[in-house]
């Protein structure tokens, strides 16, 4: 049972200014923050989950058109982006580890690396979006056209409406993901600043831990988005 320990006497000064008044101990505060972050992440699972549901419905209904649209994505850039993002998860984990073992300066280094990789991801995404715009693959615009045919059915041209649904979901899902990345980069800029000020160390690194959880979650969303969007039907 996780009942809290008896509170300190009202008015006694807490050694750690980070300890908020309504918590009895730092451990209670840390456990509360951690549980709070995990609960927030499950709201994000359900939030993205709605779009994954829409994706599943239409992939099932319009497989051929979805496969054709998927093949029009730049696989090289998508793979590079996946590698970049997974690398950023490593740097986050390393940053937290440095805080745990007291390597103050290295924390900042790893956090900065994380931000750089995150920005690189967003930059590559921007390039991909521009490609889609140039190729007239942006849904809802009058000039939308996905040329070609359903894979392995040369006589079946792509249904433009169904392809537009694919791209609607592509932009909605990767766009929502990118928005979360931007928020993540902003969050990590703040964490980097605090780390630079020497805020984090073996005794206190909760914000790093929870920021890391958020970043890893965004990485996991991409781990699923990549095969589902880029690799629907890539074989001859």
């Amino acid at each position: 049972m996780h009942t809290s320990p008896p509170a300190t006497v009202e008015g006694e000064a807490h050694e750690n200014p980070a300890l908020l008044h309504h918590f009895a101990t730092e451990e209670q505060q840390k456990n509360a923050a951690s549980l709070g972050m995990w609960l927030f992440l499950i709201t994000e699972i359900m939030f993205f989950g709605g779009m994954f549901c829409a994706y599943l419905v239409y992939r099932y209904a319009y497989f051929g058109d979805f496969a054709a649209a998927s093949s029009s994505l730049d696989l090289k850039l998508g793979t590079i982006n996946t590698i970049v993002l997974i690398g950023s998860s490593l740097t986050v984990a390393m940053a937290i580890r440095c805080a745990q073992v007291g390597k103050q300066k290295a924390i900042v280094g790893y956090l900065v690396l994380t931000i750089i990789l995150g920005v690189a991801f967003l930059g590559i995404k921007a390039i991909e979006y521009k490609q889609k715009f140039d190729e007239h693959h942006v849904p809802g615009l009058a000039n939308f056209h996905l040329e070609g045919h359903v894979p392995r059915h040369a006589d079946v041209p792509v249904n433009q409406n169904h392809a537009q649904i694919y791209f609607s979901l592509y932009f909605a899902m990767t766009g929502m993901h990118a928005l979360h990345m931007i928020i993540g980069v902003g969050l990590f800029a703040y964490l980097t600043y605090k780390a630079y000020k020497g805020r984090y160390g073996p005794g206190y690194y909760t914000p790093l831990e929870n920021g890391g959880l958020y970043w890893h979650f965004v990485d996991i969303v991409w781990i699923y988005l990549f095969p589902l969007l880029y690799l629907i039907d890539r074989h001859p």
Binding site: M46, L90, I220
Partner: protein
């Protein structure tokens, strides 16, 4: 309170496994496995996700069962959303 501190070796190892999974999923996508293609893609993605959750997000070393319960609950209800919605779409054309 002691938090488990993972070694650099472990983190790099997990990262290498994730890299390998990424390459693997691209390679496998280029091979015709019929209905197994999406299965493989999801299996590899899920393995990668599990590695991130257990080791990067430290769930393997979590003090409480509560963390795992929270995650499992979310996955359960997400799967319910998918399964019951697809129960409609997959049976629409049945007579």
């Amino acid at each position: 309170m002691s938090e488990h501190i993972s070694s650099v070796k472990l983190y790099v190892g997990i990262w290498l496994a994730l890299m390998a999974g990424t390459i693997l999923t691209v390679v496998v996508a280029g091979i015709d496995l019929g209905p197994l293609n999406p299965v493989m893609a999801l299996a590899i993605a899920t393995t990668k996700a599990v590695l991130v959750v257990l080791f990067f997000m430290h769930v393997k070393y979590a003090h409480e069962k509560l963390t795992k319960l929270v995650i499992v609950t979310a996955i359960f209800f997400f799967l319910i959303l998918l399964a019951l919605t697809m129960a409609d779409y997959t049976t629409r054309l049945w007579t």
